[in-house]
Assembly symmetry: C2
């Protein structure tokens, strides 16, 4: 059995569960490397992965004997098979934040489970702490992202549309070793930048535009996340104060981060600083990054929680002035014993593309 599954078995035993149904495909991938549609059953003695004909060939190629997982084709299973999986199991865990109410009822009935127990982000919590291999993958994803930003400095010109830039980013990622996008790229120019979650539009980039680019790729399943706000032609005077305020806050947070930093107090500091200047932080200050681009820990004042070594998080303060413009600056960082290692290293001073001469 692989080490991650062994860890899970020990963990659920300690919680007095005799089995667990892992439905969230991200958690299945974390435990097994499988990237497919299916369900992982941790039973008293064995581990099973149930999938369908579309994935059988691929799954069997990925798994080794060492994984200790028996693969079943869903169409070969009958009612009795399901009932036998958790026979003599008193308590079986499930992912209550992933499983729908409908699936919950169906599972209970199909597997004849007496006590179906909530597992409270058991796997997500473990996933917060990255091992060496995971960190290397995230570093590679961040490196490709930095290279992409460097490329964009030359590529972005007046006349291009937001959509064209977004697709160029994806093309760069794919052609430079990434699996693909970690999330839908945001390219928001001019007024569009005032919406934190703007979708790339057909708006044409003009000189004097501010341009927020929020992008990230996946490398072997692991994500990067970086935002830069840049300028086209020149830096408009009225935007400098806001840019400087966001950047100062972002740098200050990164300087303070280390094992033990308290999420609530970091977030409150930034909120307070923005408030002093008349602005509100419209979204969380940050979030964990790993197999998902947004995962726990969420960095906002709602969470009174301390960071730990080997967490990877993104820090992304932003200011958004409705109908005018917005600025967001974001890096992915690795928390260490005494500080943090900034994994996305692109320039954060005023970056001006297609400069007016």
């Amino acid at each position: 059995m692989n080490t991650k599954i062994k860890w899970l078995r020990d963990k659920i035993n300690g919680l007095n569960m005799q089995g667990m149904i892992v439905s969230n495909p991200i958690n299945v991938r974390y435990l097994t490397g499988i990237d497919a549609e299916g369900i992982l059953l941790i039973t008293r003695k064995e581990n099973f992965y149930i999938t369908d004909s579309r994935y059988i060939e691929e799954v069997n190629k990925i798994l080794t004997i060492d994984d200790g997982i028996v693969v079943y084709n869903i169409s070969n299973l009958c009612r009795e098979d399901y009932e036998n999986f958790f026979l003599f199991c008193e308590n079986v865990g499930f992912e209550e934040k992933y499983v729908t109410y409908y699936m919950y009822k169906e599972h209970k009935q199909k597997y004849q489970i007496n006590n179906f127990e909530e597992t409270e982000n058991l796997l997500e919590k473990q996933r917060m702490l990255k091992d060496e291999d995971e960190i290397e993958k995230i570093k590679t994803a961040c490196k490709i992202t930095d290279e992409c930003f460097e490329y964009l400095k030359g590529y972005i010109k007046t006349g291009k549309t937001e959509k064209q830039i977004a697709i160029e980013i994806e093309k760069f990622f794919v052609e430079n070793g990434a699996d693909g996008l970690a999330f839908d790229t945001i390219v928001a120019s001019g007024k569009n930048s005032s919406k934190p979650h703007a979708k790339p539009s057909d708006r044409i980039i003009q000189s004097g535009d501010i341009l927020t680019i929020d992008m990230g790729c996946k490398y072997k399943g692991y994500c990067s996340d970086m935002t830069r706000t840049i300028f086209v032609g020149y830096v408009p005077e009225n935007m400098k104060n806001v840019y400087d305020l966001v950047l100062k806050n972002q740098i200050q947070v990164l300087e303070e981060l280390k094992e033990g930093s308290n999420i609530r107090s970091i977030s409150k500091n930034v909120e307070y600083s923005l408030k002093l200047n008349g602005y509100t932080l419209l979204h969380s200050l940050g979030h964990g990054v790993g197999l998902e681009v947004h995962e726990i820990p969420y960095i906002n004042p709602k969470h009174d929680y301390n960071l730990r070594e080997n967490m990877v998080i993104a820090i992304e303060p932003g200011v958004y002035i409705p109908d005018s413009f917005g600025v967001r600056i974001e890096d992915t960082v690795l928390i260490t014993k005494n500080g943090c290692e900034i994994l996305t290293k692109s320039d954060k001073n005023y970056v001006i593309v297609d400069k007016e001469v």
Copy 2:
């Protein structure tokens, strides 16, 4: 109030519900046009949309007075507000196939709901029947997809990788009026085509390759879905029989489709025909297409259900020979009174790219 929300209110009244929580963002978009993160509450007298600061600006731009929806910022709501929404409502509906078990418990508690009722795909069932406006959008998405296929015939050459072709497809979509991809494009060449859900890889296209391209775009939220299996250089003799068998079945199904066609019997016919030739249909024969690329009705023998006018579905028989190759051919079609209108019109005869001379 807009007609779709009026329909929903009548419908739930008929089911003896006094309110409904609509959580699935696709259903929210269907009812309101809103494309954001938030929750729609249909209460006794009013409709509310609760979202967060990131989306407020956009949502207020989309909604008109005619929609009759009051927008709330989630951070301005207190415990009592939640309790008041469904005051004096005996039965409140929810989407049990979307809401997680965790959300279910949280909603019950937060809104103080006594009877939280399953709504059994109420909205998804209505979404199956497309109105004129929806059909026009799907037709446009299909037209862009056909144009893309035409472009690919010239673009695909030996030496390109699967990933390069996939990104070129997305680029074409975005530059030709689509919102973006309807789903992750499949470009599976050579042996990779034997996996129905292969992901584009770095494999380089060679002469003699078979190439399955499963692609679709979104236009104003509505999807297209089309698969073509094509040949590079020439058509290998050993692949012709399989190609012909899949094509014959696909065409036969399209000829038979009309209002009243039974999903089970259509699917069984194809399964039987493939079986006679020693093959198994590894996936459903098809599925509904609309705001989601895969929606009900699912076309497989598990469903004893008749098609209705104005449904839009994709029909995609396929044969997959492990470790060798696969063929899938798929069109998006509109069900009419007496037949079906094929909305994706790309060539289905042997298409040979980068032809050897």
